[in-house]
Structure formats: structure tokens, C-alpha cells
Amino acid sequence: MLRLKPFRYLRPAGAEEAAAIVAEFDGEAMLVAGGTDLVPKLKRRQMEPSILVGISHLEELRSLRSTPEGGMEIGAAITLAEVTRNKDLEMHWPGYVQAASLVSSPPLRNLGTIGGNLMVDTRCNYYDMTYEWRQAAGFCLKKDGDACRVAPARPHCWAVSSSDTAPVAIALDATAVLAGPEGRREVPVESLYQDDGIHYTTKQPYEVVTSLHFPPRAGWRSSYVKLRRRGSIDFPIGGAAVALVIEGGRIIDSRIVLSGVASHPVVAVEAASYLVGHSLDPELVAEVADHAAKPVKPLDNADLAYTWRKRMVKWLVTQAVLEAGK
């Protein structure tokens, strides 16, 4: 079987200490919570840290509570399975619960954390392979190589953002608290991502996501529709998160965020704005979906034909808008 390389495992007493260790052993240490994304990648030598800093045992990362103003604070080490069982989340942030319930399989949701899913590595089928395979096929830009195997024309990594929960968190204006050695900062989830398959996050490698905050969303409806080959296990090869406020039959606010189509969750600001002021008319929805889908350019680095995945974006958005509007 594929074996893990030896590593040191450290168990810090708090988030700041965790961050300080990772900062000190810059490039050598990595954070780990559920490990569902990291451990297979260690075996495939996509990441080769000599130190792993565990954070899932930290008490403060394990809280899940309503805030006084009616929002929700979820510790980063809360598992995806715990999210799917939470009645408050189900009631007010259904799209987020839906997304969490669609991640991978039950055993992995029991281990995988919400912080881990937000920060999940970008994926590419030239990259998510064993060392031996990558050596045979030619190493890629993201690890050990100097050229992108998907689009070799320029030195840019096109690995795909594969978080199911990030698009919904963005659509619902969630913020994340990051702990560094020097203190904490709270940032919109949207600002955590950038258009680069390698450096896909703006978070510093040492910063620990301690919690996710959902502002109160009374009156908001939300949904997430995921595209994948099978009914379980698979990462998204497309996804649409939608949040809507409908009053008196008219949409007064709306968000559309796509997953699995670029190196970051794609916020379709303009397309979403076309819904505002209108009722949920199927023709309008189709037009909006078309608009959201148009700029998306999937590449041949994920499951199924990329031409078909491109075509499915419109369908995903349509389904997600209709689902949210139900």
C-alpha cells in the first residue's frame, strides 16, 4: 500500500500557538484537522511537510452556537456531519446544510471539518495522482514541475476550487476568523480566495481558521446544487449556490456563487442582480443562468467532458435558483 512518510505530530494548546509553530517552521509544517484531504495527499507526496500541527482537539474550534443578534458561529473543527444534524442551521441557512450534506461520503463527513472544507486544496487530474504517476506523466506546475499540463501555453495553474460549502458561505455573507501568532482578523469568506490554482487562498499558511460566522439571515432562502458523476463520494465538477430574499412575490436581494468551475468560487454578481425586482419567472431564470454560465470556462482537468461541464453550469444555476425560490 501507499505509505505515509514519517512526520512529527504536534498538539498545541491553542490556535495562536498552532499558528506560531507553523510560522516558525515555515514551509515545513502544516495544519491538520480531519485530515480527509491532507492524508491521501501526503501519501501521494503532493504535500511533504515534516511537521503536522493538529487543531481538531482545540476546544474553541469545537463550539457551535447562535449569536445574540441571531447569527450563527461555527467552530472550524465542527464536522460536516455535525452541521447536517443542526436544526438551527437547517432552518435559517438551508443551502449551507445542503452543501455540507453533499460533501463526499458519510465516513468522511464524520471526520472532515467545516474549516477543512473551506480550505480544501484545489483539484486537477494531473495533480491528484501518486508521485509515480506524476513522474510518468510529467510533473505539473502545482507540484514538482514547471509547466501546466492542462494548458501549457502559460505558467498559470488551473486547478479547480472544489469546496462545496464555500460558495454557500459566500452567498450568505459569512465571515471567517483567522488566528495568527500576532492576533486575529475577521474576513469575508469571499476574500479568502484568489484566481490561482496554487496560491488559491489569501490566508497565510500559518493562519488558523478558528470559526465561521453567519450573519442573521431571517427571510433569506438558500440552496446548493452539486454536479458530480455519482450520488456520493465525488468532488463537485460544478455547483451553484443561490441565496434569495423574496418579498411579496418579488426578489429583493440575490446571490449566485459557482463552485467547481475555476480556481476560486466564482461570484456571479451581475447575473444575480438581474433577478432583483422581478418574480421568479422561468424565462428570466433561464436568462440569468445563461448570463452566469457564459464567462465560465472549464478545462479538461476534471471528471467528464469539459464541454458538457460548461453546458451544465446554466442548468445548475437554474436548478439552484428554482430550489431556493421554492
Partner: protein, 778 residues
């Protein structure tokens, strides 16, 4: 019958469900060394130089071997001896092994393997059937076969084809492509060898311990009696563990070199390279039909992408033409087949061996012909069904045949005829047939195909048989048959199986042969034992042996133990033997060795699906599968095999594909190679039809492979029923459906699939006389 036909627990069920079964990878001896193979990163290259020094210098490394240490060629078929355990001159696919390291632990072995320096001269790989047919830019992949990279061709013609087509009211040609796929057993291949006192023992997750035994003897130049091969309990085979493999030969050699036990378990990725999976096959079929649906002639051409080595490929090629006639009475039939070498992982036998591909093409082709003629596709099939006790135009002997019964029952259960018609909803129907064991052995001989020995003493009944339980339940079948004869329960029987050192020869778990052949051998031995016991019991009771009733552990009024004691007092040590060799069934022509079987099973499937015209995504609602099993030795076990076959058939129809980017395997992992998860698996309604085969043990036939076959075309037929498009290429992925719908919308042919069949210079066909047996009227 007291135990045959009863839904009893499998004899190994408790250990399997409690996790106490010892698989090959669970075996470990003190001082065991761990072996890692170094594999080629190139699809096609010459080995210029190898430097082992750095690897040998790694602390903990005990031995490093290369092709120079294992120079003897082998291969499962006598006519394709084209493999080396480790290649020393040329590598032919990504993953071809070139060296093996034995070290104190697996990490060290892997580290050392990485330190072996191999200098390659990279050659231009052959990546497709079309490329293999034309002259290669570099030398051909092998130094036999040809022209170009053709491995083997055949052309056979039965009956008067021209006259048949001349008689037809309608003639149609179609082209199909069946994508290759792999077995995906849960258990990776694993082997551990010891060499003690000049005797070699190999424990391996193999389906064919006897053939591995022979190969070790040849490659390591050891006499047969110095080798023992034990097939360990399996976590799935499906044909993927029927060849002798590099890792098996490497651990044997390393055990001899080091004097220590040596073990090798493949990684999941390596299992994809070991492959021997379903051949991709391009097919062309032309059929003549009367306006009433009766077939007058059929011409079938195939081209198989064999990958880098021979494996079972010549047999596979013949199988793509052999069993068309075991479901339909075809008065004139011509088959032309070609297998080519490419620089991809070697293909071999997978559940259905060479017959799912032509079955897919044939069933859909008949659907299309029925549509052309405005006939009901089920009626067209019925009009051509073979009858029991007939001989096909290619000399295959049909005995028991439940085609009509399985058709009636599957249609009735599924309400196929009165199905709900709506865009996006469809049902498909197809039938198929499969062997109950190959009629001829892999290497020519007139020996038994299966042998069995039963020992009886104060310790009870022990059955020794080389048959290998790969999860299909052959141990349970043998125990049940013996228990039935002796009036015991299957759980009373001790079994020693799959062990060439202790049990007499059985050829292995392939071609759905074990129930039929090992079953008959066990029955032969058990009946002899029963007669001995009945004799002494009758004497003691003062009646005739024929009057002795057995069951519930009794022989007449005596207990089984009392009867045993009487028998031993009379005869001393007691054992009986039995064997089975199928009747001579091959027709009078070269190539007739593939296809004959002492019996054929029959399966009919109806598949109910929803397919979304906006996405092409298919949801399978239900599958009905009626199977002519002859007789169920254990109905629960039979249903398990049916469900497993349906599962695998759906996977092949919908998503499974061993895909490559040029010659680089695209997805050698269980996440990326897609097979159905439990939530994708629909309800299966199994209908068992018992036709009581005259030669099967208690009338039994096979179930391990046949039920997969009709599922694939039935899925595609259902897609046509739902959307009016033909997907002539599997797997039927949603993008293919959307492309076919696009073509339909543009007024083009409403299909997706290959456009043409290459011009292959098949040899002049061999004209074979038709057997002197009346066929049905045309």
C-alpha cells in the same frame, strides 16, 4: 433434496462478516521481507542500462533482482508466451515491471526501488486500434504476430452467407464500440512466498493456482512437486487474478534468493496497471432478415485493443465471435476478428470474457432491425431463439435452454410491454447466454478438468479439491453437494480447496466452470462414498443399500458416526475420488476450441431508467433479471451473483472505463475510476428459472458471468426508448447523450458512436461445413 436448493448461509459467511477471514495480505511469517516492484514510467521504451548500486546500498535492503534473474518467458496461453516477470530489454506499457526489491519493510523497499537508475531509450507508443493496424514508426511491440502490431486474426465462415443475404428482405449494417474497463476488486493482488527445504510455497490471491503452479515451475525451473500454490480467500477476482503475475514470480524468486519469506501487495494504482481487464472492442455487424424478423445471415467483424501483452487475448478474440449463435439460430454466419497490441496495460478476461462487447452490439443491432421493419423487438428475438437440444451453425451443442421462460417471466414481472411511455422515461430489454465452463483446457490434454478427493475417518468428512473460492461461493457449492449425498449439513463438511499441495487439480475459477466441473467431480466422489456407507448400513439394518434413506446426519436408522465406524471396521482407511472432464464438443475446424461448453446459461434483463433530456444524466430505477440457472444449489448465493453481475453491468454501461491520455492511464485510483456507489445501485428483482440441465450437478448451471451480459444493451435500449437516440458506444456518459440529442435536433442521424470500421486485411476465411442437424425453418 434436503440441502440443495435451500437458502443456507455460505460456509465461509461467519468469518467474512466478522472480519476473521485471512486474506493474502493478512498472512505474515517471522522474518518476512517486503517486496516492491519498480515499474516503467514510459509506455514504450528500450532499456539501455540499469544501475542497482544505489538501491542495494540502502540500509535494510536484502536483495534486488531484474529481468536477468528471471529470463524465462511465460504467458497464460501456450501460443502467447510473451511476458517476462521483469523486463530487461523493452518496456511496453506504463507500469511494466523492471526490477524487484526485497527489504526489511515496505517503506525501505519503495525507497530503494526509487534509487534504481534505469536509462531508457523512449520509443513512439502505439495508442489505438487504428495506429496498431498501420506500420509502426518504431519496431513492432512484439516479435511475433503481424502485420504491423496485429497480434492474432481469425476468419471463419459457417453456412452459405451469400445465399443467406440474397434471401433477406432487409439488410442492415451497424458499427459499435465498447470501451475497455477493469475489474476493480476490493482486494488488491497480494502474494507471499517461502522457500524451505528446497520447497517453494506461494500464498496468493489468485483465481488459478494450477496455472500459477505451472508458470512458476517453468520460469523458476523447479519441478512441479517442489512447488505448492495456495489460493487465499478472495476479496474479488472477476477475471483480474487469472493470469500469473510479475509480483507472484518476483516473491518466489526473492524467497529463493534470500531464504526468507517475501511478500508483495500491490497498491491500488498497481492493480490498474496489472489490469487484464475488458478489451476495448470496435465492432461491425451486418445482418439479413426476412420481413417477419427471421435472421437469414450475419456477418460480424471485431477489432480488439489488447494492450501490451497476449494474456488470454487470443481466446478473447475468438469469444467476440463465438456466442452470438447460442441465443439466436443464425443459418449462415461469418466471423472475422483481430486483436492488436498497443502500449497500454494488458487486457485479458473480465466477467463475460469477450462476450459482453458483441452482446452489446448484437442486441442493439437487433433492436434497430426491428425498428426498421416495424416489428416488436421482443418478437424479433423470439422468432430467432435457439431451441433446446440443437446444434448451432458453428457447432456449439445446446442442451437445456430456458430462453422462452426467462423472456416470459422478465416481461411479466417488469410490465415491459405495457410500460409507461413518456419523454425521459424508458425501458430496455435484452437477452444473453454464457458458458458453464470452457469445454477445452488452456493447454491441450485429455486429463480431468477437475478432481476431488473425500477422506472419511473419526474426524469426519474432508473434501479436497483444487477449486478456488473467489467469493462466488464455490466452497459452499461443493460442501452442499457432498452434504446432500451424505445426509449431512454443508457446515459439517471440512474443505481443503485452492491448494495445489494438498488438493487434486482443478483448473481454476474462470469461464464459470466451478459449479459445473468441480461440482460434478465432488458429486462423483461423494456418490462413491455414499455407496460404501450405504452398503455397511444396509448390512447392519438387514435391508438393501438402495433402501437406505439419508438426511439429518443419519444413514437409515444409524447415525453418520456409527455408519463411519462400521465402514472403517470393514474397509480400513476410507477415501473416494471423483473427477470431471467435459465431453468432446469442439467442432471440426481450427478455432473451434473457444465457445464449446457442456451447457449454456441464459439471462434476460429489463432495465427501467429516467434520463434527463436537459443534462443526459441517467437514473436507473430498477432492473429485472431472469436467469436460467438450471438448478440453484443455493438460491441466496445465486441471487448474490445475479445482483453482482447487474451491478457490474450497470457500471460498464454507465461509467466504468479504463481511460488513457495517449498511452498514459488517466485515472488509476478508486476515486477517479468511477463505479456505482451503493446509492447509485437500483433495486434488482431476480427471477430464477430452473431448467434442470441433464449434465449439471443436480441440474445446475452457471450464474457468475451470464447475468452481466444483457444489462449493458438493455440500458442503451432504454435510453433509446426514453429519448429516441442510439448510444452505440459504452460507457453511456451524459455528454454522449447530449451529443446524440444535438445530432437529432439538427436532423442528423440520432446517434453517438463510431462512424466507421477500419479496413482490416483479415485472412481468407475458413469455410466450415454446417453440422448435420436440422435448424428451424426460415
Amino acid at each position: 433434496m434436503r440441502v440443495v436448493g435451500k437458502p443456507l448461509a455460505k460456509v465461509d459467511a461467519r468469518a467474512k462478516v466478522t472480519g476473521s477471514t485471512l486474506y493474502a495480505d493478512d498472512l505474515i511469517f517471522s522474518d518476512t521481507l517486503f517486496c516492491k516492484l519498480l515499474r516503467s514510467p514510459h509506455p514504450y521504451a528500450r532499456i539501455k542500462h540499469m544501475d542497482l548500486n544505489a538501491a542495494k546500498a540502502v540500509e535494510g535492503v536484502v536483495a534486488v533482482i531484474t529481468g536477468n534473474d528471471l529470463p524465462v518467458k511465460y504467458g497464460i496461453l501456450p501460443i502467447s508466451q510473451d511476458e517476462h516477470a521483469l523486463e530487461s530489454e523493452k518496456v511496453r506499457y506504463v507500469g511494466d515491471p523492471v526490477a524487484a526489491v526485497a527489504a526489511f519493510d515496505e517503506e525501505t523497499a519503495a525507497l530503494a526501488a526509487e534509487k534504481i537508475r534505469v536509462e531508457y531509450e523512449v520509443l513512439d507508443p502505439v495508442t489505438s486500434i487504428e495506429e496498431a493496424l498501420s506500420e509502426p514508426t518504431d519496431e513492432p511491440i512484439h516479435d511475433y504476430g503481424g502485420p504491423a502490431n496485429i497480434h492474432k486474426m481469425a476468419a471463419l465462415s459457417f453456412g452459405d452467407l451469400e445465399a443467406g443475404f440474397a434471401e433477406a428482405d432487409h439488410i442492415r449494417e451497424d458499427v459499435f464500440f465498447y470501451g475497455g474497463n477493469t475489474h476493480l476488486p476490493m482486494e488488491q493482488h497480494s502474494a507471499i512466498a517461502t522457500y524451505v527445504n528446497g520447497k517453494l510455497t506461494l500464498w496468493s490471491s489468485t483465481q488459478t493456482p494450477h496455472y500459477v503452479h505451472r508458470t512458476i515451475s517453468k520460469v523458476l525451473d523447479l519441478p512441479m512437486q517442489a512447488i505448492r500454490v495456495v489460493a487465499t480467500p478472495h476479496g474479488g477476482g472477476f477475471g483480474g487474478k487469472t493470469d500469473p503475475f510479475s509480483h507472484e514470480l518476483a516473491v518466489c524468486k526473492l524467497a529463493m534468493v534470500t531464504g526468507k519469506p517475501v511478500k508483495c501487495t500491490l497498491t491500488r494504482e498497481e492493480v490498474f496497471y496489472a489490469h487484464r481487464g475488458r478489451h476495448p472492442v470496435l465492432m461491425w455487424v451486418r445482418t439479413g432478415m426476412k420481413s417477419n424478423g427471421r435472421i437469414t445471415a450475419m456477418h460480424f467483424k471485431t477489432a480488439l485493443d489488447g494492450g501490451a501483452y497476449g494474456s488470454y487475448g487470443v481466446a478473447t478474440m475468438f469469444y467476440t465471435g463465438a456466442l452470438q449463435t447460442t441465443t439466436y439460430d443464425i443459418p449462415a454466419y461469418r466471423f472475422e476478428g483481430a486483436r492488436v497490441f498497443t502500449n497500454k496495460a494488458p487486457c485479458g478476461p473480465k466477467r463475460g470474457h469477450g462476450t459482453p462487447q458483441p452482446r452489446f452490439a448484437l442486441e442493439l443491432h437487433l433492436d434497430k432491425m426491428a425498428e426498421d421493419l416495424g416489428l416488436d423487438p421482443v418478437e424479433v428475438r423470439r422468432r430467432n431463439y435457439v431451441s433446446p437440444n440443437t446444434t448451432t451453425v458453428n457447432w456449439l451443442r445446446i442442451t437445456s435452454c430456458g430462453l422462452e421462460e426467462i423472456t416470459d417471466q422478465v416481461l411479466q414481472a417488469s410490465s415491459y410491454v405495457n410500460r409507461q411511455r413518456a419523454v425521459g422515461h424508458g425501458m430496455g430489454f435484452a437477452v444473453a447466454s454464457y458458458l458453464c465452463g470452457a469445454g477445452l483446457p488452456i493447454y491441450w490434454n485429455k486429463l480431468p478438468h477437475s478432481e476431488c478427493l473425500i477422506k472419511l475417518d473419526r474426524g469426519g468428512v474432508t473434501v479436497y479439491c483444487g477449486a478456488t473460492d473467489i467469493g462466488q461461493g464455490s466452497d459452499t457449492v461443493i460442501a452442499t453437494l457432498v452434504a446432500e449425498e451424505l445426509g449431512l449439513w454443508p457446515s459439517d463438511i471440512r474443505l481443503v480447496t485452492g491448494d495445489t499441495g494438498f488438493a487434486p487439480v482443478d483448473l481454476g475459477s474462470y469461464s464459470s466452470r466451478v459449479t459445473f466441473m468441480a461440482g460434478n467431480a465432488a458429486l462423483d466422489a461423494a456418490r462413491k462414498l455414499r455407496n460404501l456407507l450405504a452398503e455397511v448400513a444396509a448390512e447392519s439394518m438387514g435391508c438393501l443399500p438402495g433402501e437406505i434413506v439419508t438426511g439429518d446426519g443419519k444413514f437409515g436408522t444409524l447415525s453418520f458416526e456409527e455408519t463411519t465406524q462400521l465402514a472403517q471396521e470393514r474397509f480400513g482407511a476410507i477415501s473416494t475420488v471423483g473427477s470431471y472432464r467435459p465431453p468432446d464438443l469442439a467442432g471440426p475446424y481450427k478455432g473451434s476450441g473457444v465457445g464449446p461448453s457442456p451447457a449454456y446459461s441464459y439471462s434476460a434483463a429489463v432495465v427501467d431508467i429516467d434520463v434527463d433530456p436537459e443534462t443526459g444524466i441517467i437514473k436507473v430505477n430498477k432492473v429485472w433479471l431472469a436467469h436460467d440457472i438450471g438448478r440453484s444449489i443455493n438460491p441466496v448465493s445465486v441471487r448474490g451473483q445475479v445482483e453482482g453481475g447487474v451491478y457490474m453491468g450497470l457500471g460498464e454501461a454507465l461509467m466504468e472505463e479504463q481511460a488513457y491520455r495517449k498511452a498514459m492511464p488517466k485515472q488509476p485510483s478508486m476515486l477517479d475510476y468511477k463505479s456505482l456507489t451503493s446509492v447509485d445501485m437500483p433495486e434488482v428483482e431476480t427471477i430464477l428459472v430452473e431448467t434442470d440441465d441433464p449434465e449439471g450437478p443436480y441440474g445446475a448451471k452457471e450464474v457468475g458471468q451470464g447475468p452481466l451480459l444483457p444489462v449493458v444493451p438493455a440500458v442503451v435500449s432504454a435510453v433509446h426508448d426514453a429519448l429516441g437516440v442510439w448510444i452505440d458506444q459504452v460507457p453511456v456518459t451524459p455528454d454522449k447523450i447530449m451529443k446524440a440529442l444535438d445530432a437529432k435536433a439538427k436532423g442528423q442521424a440520432p446517434r453517438f458512436g463510431p462512424k466507421s470500421f477500419p479496413d482490416i486485411a483479415y485472412p481468407q476465411y475458413v469455410k466450415v461445413d454446417t453440422p448435420h442437424v436440422a435448424t428451424q425453418a426460415i
